[in-house]
């Protein structure tokens, strides 16, 4: 099967800051491909290069078979893009926004009217077609963006953080809609996100990006299976002896024991077995179990494994993008 997107050693440097560091991957036609990583990981920069907004410093990529640098116009015609910022005009109505973009893509007038009606139905905004975009809620504005991105019938669809800033209900609605549209139109979708639950549920394959590098690439299932320990037990104790950690390590099916503060994290291949043994050991040694939680591996665990830190914590680091802005300006 031909690759919809083929990336080879793509690099972007801003002065002496490297935002994207020799990333290579391929996206198959018809798949939903996710780019997961914290803010400042380089996801948006990568998408901007693939959507011809930025010129790469090194490396090459083809989108829909066309080179992003040498054949940028063909790429632009083939792709639909929803950037992170809202790009619809707040003062114009939903329909007017779609008309303007249809004209920008040279969609012939006869086709335009029909397409717009169809799209408005697909995003469920038909009765809002004449309302100014500024009167719509955040979730509805995203739907306008989706319609806008599809107005020229692209085959490949790029979405940069499409549900950031939306409430959980709207997020679900947007994702259901995207799925429906994707299936109906046989699209290839590349999406960036820092919501693990989204990436987990919806993407066929996920690339984990951190500090500009690609650190892992596989389906969500395989990623979770690839790290040692299918379960994680988080527990905190009181009155434990000095060798408690070592004893935890010896519990059945335990793969590794780590700890942040007084919360111990046990990676285990069999959660229930290890938990039972843990409780028994604690009772035997007169150690109080203050808290106990068992869960299956999540992408957060995958992220921690590959990058050495929590996705949550990574989000709190100052974004290199902000530093970059200060340097450039």
């Amino acid at each position: 099967m031909k690759a919809a997107v083929d990336v080879r050693g793509l690099t972007k440097r801003f002065g002496d800051f490297t935002a994207v560091n020799e990333i290579s991957f391929s996206v198959k036609e018809g798949e939903i491909f996710g780019l997961l990583g914290p803010n400042g990981a380089g996801k948006s920069t990568l998408i901007r290069m693939l959507t011809t907004l930025m010129v790469p410093t090194a490396g090459a990529a083809t989108v829909g078979g066309a080179d992003i640098v040498r054949d940028s116009d063909t790429v632009r015609r083939t792709i639909g893009v929803i950037p992170q910022a809202l790009t619809s005009d707040p003062e114009l109505s939903v329909e007017e926004n779609l008309i303007i973009f249809a004209r920008l893509y040279g969609v012939p007038r006869e086709r335009r009217k029909h397409l717009i009606t169809e799209l408005l139905e697909a995003v469920q905004l038909t009765e809002w077609r004449d309302k100014p975009v500024k009167n719509l809620s955040g979730g509805m504005r995203r739907r306008v963006e989706i319609a806008r991105g599809l107005v020229h019938e692209p085959r490949i669809f790029f979405l940069d953080e499409p549900t950031t800033g939306l409430d959980p209900v709207s997020r679900t609605a947007v994702w259901e809609m995207l799925h429906r549209i994707k299936t109906a139109r046989d699209l290839t979708v590349i999406v960036t996100t820092h919501y693990m639950d989204e990436a987990d549920k919806l993407c066929d394959r996920i690339a984990i990006v951190d500090h500009g590098k690609l650190v892992a690439l596989d389906s969500p299932l395989n990623l979770k299976a690839s790290i040692p320990g299918r379960n994680f037990i988080e527990a905190s104790f009181g009155g434990e002896p000095d060798d408690w950690r070592a004893r935890l390590q010896r519990l059945p099916a335990v793969d590794s024991v780590s700890g942040e503060g007084n919360v111990v994290r046990i990676a285990s291949n069999n959660g229930p077995l290890t938990t039972t043994a843990l409780i028994a050991a604690a009772a035997e040694s007169d150690v109080a179990v203050r808290s106990l939680a068992v869960h299956s591996t999540t992408l957060d665990d995958v992220f921690v494994h590959f990058t050495g830190r929590d996705l949550r914590d990574a989000l709190q680091e100052p974004s290199p993008a902000d530093q970059r802005l200060l340097i450039r300006r």
Binding site: R48, T51, T52, L53, M54, V55, D73, R76, R77, I79, V81, P83, Q84, A85, L86, T87, S88, D89, E91, L92, E96, I100, F101, R103, L104, Y105, G106, P132, R148, R329
Partner: protein, 371 residues
């Protein structure tokens, strides 16, 4: 070209949804027209002039009579008699008088002998308008005195001046209008063009365009044509409203309107190109707003819109030569106030055209299609 038209359509639709932009561009010029035009236009009146007659002879009395006549009729000044010149001078220095007319002792004797009689006007020259008015009035007074004395011959033997005015009196409010039309065009170009463009850029709206197959040329053409259209619209509106406020004679004669339109459209194109060049590599909307105020002053006042360039010092006159406001102000003055044809404004139109071409070429060169 579809892309360029799409951008023009978008800009014009936005303008229709935000008519406040037109109002904002017109507000300052109209306020200036009404307030400045009437504040500066008038004749100075009701000045206070102290009169010290140290002579009391017949010619001195005549001078006093003439002064009283002016005070009573033209009311340019009001006479306050003083016996003591020292007191009068003190009053002048304390600001209670605008001038002191002194008829020195021996004036009558010299006047009758034809031996260089002189009266003195001591004026408060911290205000040049006031002192110029006083000097002018007093010269007129003495002229009237000279023509009425019995010694004057009936037929003048020395050259005298007869002033013939080519155009009907132009009140200051009309004098201001050409400059303010240009200013309104500039304001729409800056607010409705430059600042909005940069605000959109900062919000990321431009990425929406840049991912489409629109070419660099179409983008530039679209933004500039729509900007010029918006600016010309504002210029025309002010031309109409301003002509009515200022009472421009024959304001809506068809040929005149045609010439005015030509100047307004060409000025809009020139100023839009200038704005585009200034903003092409700028990213900060704050910078743009700050620059706007400075530019407004730098361009408007040296253009001769408020005061003749001939009165400027040489460095300001040099600035005026390169000031893109100078030429449309001159052209509009010719067409609006003097009803001239195209012949009088060819230099202005040529400059505007050349200016547009040069700035647009530079802006196109500097414009980046990628982020």
């Amino acid at each position: 070209m579809q892309g360029a038209f799409a951008i023009i359509e978008r800009e014009l639709r936005r303008l229709r949804r935000a008519p406040m932009l037109v109002v904002m561009s017109l507000l300052l010029p109209i306020v200036q027209l009404v307030i400045l035009g009437h504040a500066f236009g008038g004749r100075v009146r009701n000045l206070k002039v102290g009169l010290v007659d140290q002579d009391h002879g017949v010619p001195a009395v005549r001078i006093r009579e003439l002064s009283n006549a002016i005070a009573a009729n033209a009311q340019t000044f009001e006479l306050v008699p003083y016996d003591d010149p020292g007191q009068a001078l003190t009053a002048l220095r304390n600001g209670r008088l605008n001038g002191v007319l002194t008829i020195p002792p021996g004036f009558s004797r010299r006047a009758l002998a034809g031996n260089e009689p002189r009266v003195a006007l001591i004026a408060d020259n911290t205000d040049t308008f006031v002192s110029a008015t006083l000097a002018g009035t007093m010269s007129g007074l003495l002229g009237a005195y000279n023509s009425r004395t019995p010694n004057a011959r009936r037929i003048a033997t020395q050259p005298t001046l007869e002033l013939v005015e080519v155009y009907p009196y132009v009140p200051y409010v009309q004098y201001l209008l050409p400059g303010l039309i240009v200013m309104s065009i500039f304001m729409m170009v800056m607010i409705g063009g430059g600042i909005i463009y940069l605000d959109d850029k900062a919000r990321g709206l431009h990425e929406g365009y840049l991912v489409t197959p629109i070419s660099k040329f179409e983008l530039i053409l679209g933004f500039n044509v729509s900007g010029a259209l918006k600016a010309a619209l504002v210029g025309v509106v002010l031309m109409i409203i301003g002509s009515l406020i200022a009472g421009v004679p024959n304001a809506f004669a068809p040929l005149k309107v045609l010439r005015l339109l030509a100047v307004i459209v060409l000025t809009s194109v020139a100023l839009v190109s200038m704005m585009f060049l200034l903003m092409v590599r700028m990213s900060s909307p704050l910078m743009a707003r700050a620059m706007f105020g400075v530019l407004n002053t730098l361009l408007y006042f040296p253009s001769g819109a408020v005061y003749p360039q001939q009165a400027f010092p040489s460095w300001l006159r040099t600035m005026a030569v390169v000031d893109p406001f100078t030429y449309p102000v001159h052209a509009l003055k010719c067409v609006l106030l003097k009803d001239t044809g195209f012949a009088a404004i060819t230099t202005d139109l040529t400059y505007l055209l050349a200016f547009s071409v040069v700035t647009m070429a530079a802006a196109t060169f500097l414009f980046k299609r990628e982020l």
